[in-house]
């Protein structure tokens, strides 16, 4: 029973959602939106467990005075402060909550994102070596596109920008399509295996 009931629920949900796709009737649409609503609520409930784990992890660190424990205090207090501000004083456009979002959350996000520029440079330097035919092609394609899309590209050869665009639009497109079609089969097979209960590692074990 401990395995059959969850498996049955999984099977029913999977089949019902597939059938729903083919029925344009209002009742089916209504059903779909109800289920979506429930899913959203379930996501929110799981957050409680997850936050519980986070609090547990950091409070153990603080209690046992593990390495870097003072930073755990930063996480816990900033989390509590932000949650309380948002829960009790609202999240409207001109609230303190939004102000913190814009001046703390947003710049932190944007800066982490901006690190990518540095990492692209170091990854390209380290990895773009003409070790084999494949690596050389990777290198050459990156090279042509990087030069071709820049203003100075036309001085190296006036046809370079067009060639760079050609690579983007044809060989690149072909490879992406091939990968996407393959992925579609993999994903569909995985989803079917889940629904049919062939793949059940989410229940743990195979027995």
């Amino acid at each position: 029973m401990k395995r059959t009931i969850p498996l049955a629920i999984c099977l029913i949900m999977g089949v019902v959602m597939m059938i729903q796709f083919f029925i344009p009737h209002p009742i089916s649409l209504e059903f779909n939106s109800t289920i979506l609503n429930w899913i959203i609520v379930l996501f929110a409930f799981a957050l409680v467990l997850a936050i519980g784990n986070l609090i547990r992890h950091h409070s153990i660190k603080i209690r046992k005075r593990k390495h870097d424990w003072p930073y755990s205090i930063v996480t816990l207090t900033s989390m509590a402060a932000m949650a309380i501000i948002g829960l009790f004083w609202g999240i409207e456009a001109d609230s303190l909550f939004q102000r913190i979002y814009l001046n703390i959350f947003a710049p932190l996000s944007a800066t982490m994102f901006a690190l990518l520029a540095y990492y692209m440079a170091s990854a390209a330097y380290r990895a773009f070596r003409a070790r084999s035919l494949e690596a050389t092609l990777l290198l050459a394609a990156a090279f042509i596109v990087m030069v071709g899309f820049m203003p100075f590209g036309q001085y190296i050869s006036p046809r370079l920008p067009a060639f760079a665009e050609w690579i983007m639009r044809y060989p690149n497109m072909a490879a992406q399509r091939g990968i996407i079609i393959g992925v579609a089969f993999g994903a569909i097979a995985t989803a079917l295996k889940i629904i049919l209960g062939i793949e059940r590692s989410w229940l743990g074990g195979k027995e």
Partner: protein
């Protein structure tokens, strides 16, 4: 350590430092790398450049977020400068909830700049007569369709709460018939809806300004004519800035063009590092063989 081993193992911090310098320097030392203008940017410029002044308006949908501002904001600025210089009225709208902040900033800053340099009434831009910002509305698709019938019905008041019928510009703009082109500057797939509804149902000309990551998806629409031109990424913005300077509509190039200098420098830097790495690799492999 041999020289060729050394250039295969440059410390990443040196790369990072050089990269930072190469971004900062062009921001202070302006220089010009002539732009090669991509055909889709040229197409958009030509379209806006051929709108007869004072008759039809340009509808500017500003739907980009702070994260993508380095790419999209200069596009909005350049377009506004171009329209104002040609006396083409502009109506701004936003359908992304994060849009209005940056949209207001773009519009007010360009108006201020134009008016500072203006000597006569003819040269200046007056809010309400030459330009209006209508603000944000939810339900994008419904609003897009409704605007085909009547813009005032969707936006009874502008962003600042002024009733539409007290704005002279809005008195002569009823619906898409009075719109020469609608240009959507967006960091999400919003141009899809502009193509699907105003373009195909009402025959509105649609242009787009997109981040570099999104742009390739929209090439086919330019080809079929569903988009009457497109700017892609910071490069597209720089090209547009370059075009308005070249045609004498303004004399200072905007942030994208200086940003583009940094871009070019960094591309050159990365290419130099890749080349160095490969030279080192080539010689060290020969060294091993011998």
């Amino acid at each position: 350590m041999k020289w060729y081993d050394r250039i295969t193992q440059i410390d990443r911090r040196i790369i990072y430092l050089l990269l930072t310098l190469f971004i900062i320097l062009p921001l202070f030392i302006p220089f010009k790398i002539p732009q090669n203008v991509m055909p889709q940017t040229q197409q958009l410029f030509d379209f806006v450049d051929s709108i007869p002044p004072g008759d039809e308006v340009v509808l500017l949908a500003l739907d980009y977020t702070p994260q993508t501002a380095p790419e999209c904001h200069p596009m909005a600025i350049a377009l506004l400068k171009h329209c104002f210089a040609r006396k083409v009225p502009v109506i701004g709208v936003s359908f992304d909830p994060q849009g209005p902040g940056l949209a207001v900033e773009a519009i007010t800053s360009v108006i201020r700049e134009v008016n500072e340099n203006a000597r006569t009434r003819e040269d200046s831009v007056i809010y309400g007569t030459d330009c209006v910002y209508l603000g944000w509305k939810s339900g994008r698709v419904a609003a897009l369709l409704q605007m085909g019938e009547s813009v005032p019905q969707v936006f009874p008041v502008d962003y600042y709460g002024t009733p539409i019928d007290s704005l002279p510009l809005m008195l002569r703009v009823g619906n898409y018939k009075d719109v020469a082109i609608a240009i959507n500057i967006a960091s999400a797939a919003y141009p899809d809806d502009w193509i699907r509804y105003p373009q195909s149902r009402y025959g509105v000309k649609v242009g787009a300004g997109l981040t570099a990551v999104m742009a390739p998806k929209y090439y086919p629409f330019v080809q079929t004519g569903q988009l009457s031109g497109m700017m892609s990424g910071m490069k597209g913005a720089a090209e547009y800035e370059h075009l308005i300077v070249k045609h004498g509509y303004t004399d200072d190039s905007g942030t994208a063009e200086t940003g583009m200098n940094s871009q070019s420098m960094i591309h050159i830097l990365i290419i130099v590092f890749i080349v160095l790495g490969n030279i080192g690799y080539f010689f060290s492999r020969r060294g091993v063989k011998q």
